[in-house]
Symmetry: C2
Subunit: 190 residues, 2 copies
């Protein structure tokens, strides 16, 4: 793709991420994405086929980005959970996109089905850490992973209780990080 | 209200709960709610003012119902979490309504603000159990509550990983209940 095309595609994906995170899949408007990115709708459909195809591309990119910015570490699940807590403050989009995807498309089962290239290495790492006595045994690796994500998401943009904000006092963040670290450590580390 | 009115209002709230749980607030259609309940739109607006007012009534009722069906027990947080897991299988609506409310209306902060009559007794009970050495100390009662709800929601209809379904094998449910009980016990009970 020529350089101009790459830049347009980048602007389109960024505008689409913001639009989908704010309004969901059904609620997103391609007109607003086109206006915000300066990419016309014909080009958008040429690249991604449909609004759903554009969502898939945005979601896939965000999933791969979080793996790079917050690498999974089965040997330090408390530290991983706290790093996720911090990432949700600065980049709430991924959790909101995942929640919309859950509500609008995947009411039951694995919301990341079709992304086993991302999940399988984590489950393998958990199983290895369990064999080495570094993670509690007797819990399925997939359940360990789900429990860590659930705990890390206690104050996430998908929280069923209280969602943290970058605007909160630093004392609140420190209190939550300490509670999260303690809970993950006690729950999952022998 | 006459008996006929009570029955109509009941049918309306049930139809609205199903519609909002499926499609969210913006996505819900009052025409579909009217058709499903047999209550005309003029009556609906007379009772609840607007689609948003109807959502508020539905959400408030569901919140009070879960308190009755799954009473909070600060002295048995593992049992409470497992009871919530089971309730999400048979009545996924409350979590979905909460998630829609989170995404569409309350991006940060307490999603149950305005319902302190429901939350305050739980926080008081946690604080009492902490003083009696029955719940881990040094974690704010509100954070204990958020952590329990997060763990109980690991496989909920708002899960960021895997949502359980009543159609899953009983062995899967038993495996998840055991993992949940273990995690809550280890994390929060001294």
């Amino acid at each position: 793709m020529p350089r101009d095309g790459e830049q347009s595609r980048r602007r389109l994906l960024d505008a689409a991420a913001a639009e989908f995170a704010a309004h969901g899949i059904a609620g997103a408007r391609v007109d607003r994405i086109a206006a915000a990115s300066g990419v016309n709708k014909a080009q958008m459909y040429g690249w991604f086929g449909s609004k759903d195809g554009l969502f898939d591309a945005v979601f896939d990119e965000q999933l791969h980005r979080i793996v790079d910015t917050v690498p999974f570490d089965a040997y330090d699940l408390p530290g991983y959970a706290v790093a996720l807590y911090d990432s949700y403050l600065t980049a709430p989009e991924l959790v909101r996109l995942t929640s919309w995807n859950r509500l609008e498309r995947v009411p039951t089962g694995d919301v990341l089905a079709g992304h086993t290239e991302l999940s399988q290495p984590k489950l393998d790492a958990v199983a290895r850490a369990q064999r080495e006595g570094r993670v509690v045994d007797g819990v399925h690796p997939g359940d360990v992973y789900s429990l860590v994500i659930a705990l890390a998401g206690t104050w996430s943009p998908g929280s069923l209780t209280s969602t943290a904000s970058a605007a909160d006092d630093e004392a609140d963040h420190e209190r939550r990080r300490a509670a999260l670290r303690l809970a993950v450590q006690r729950a999952l580390v022998p």
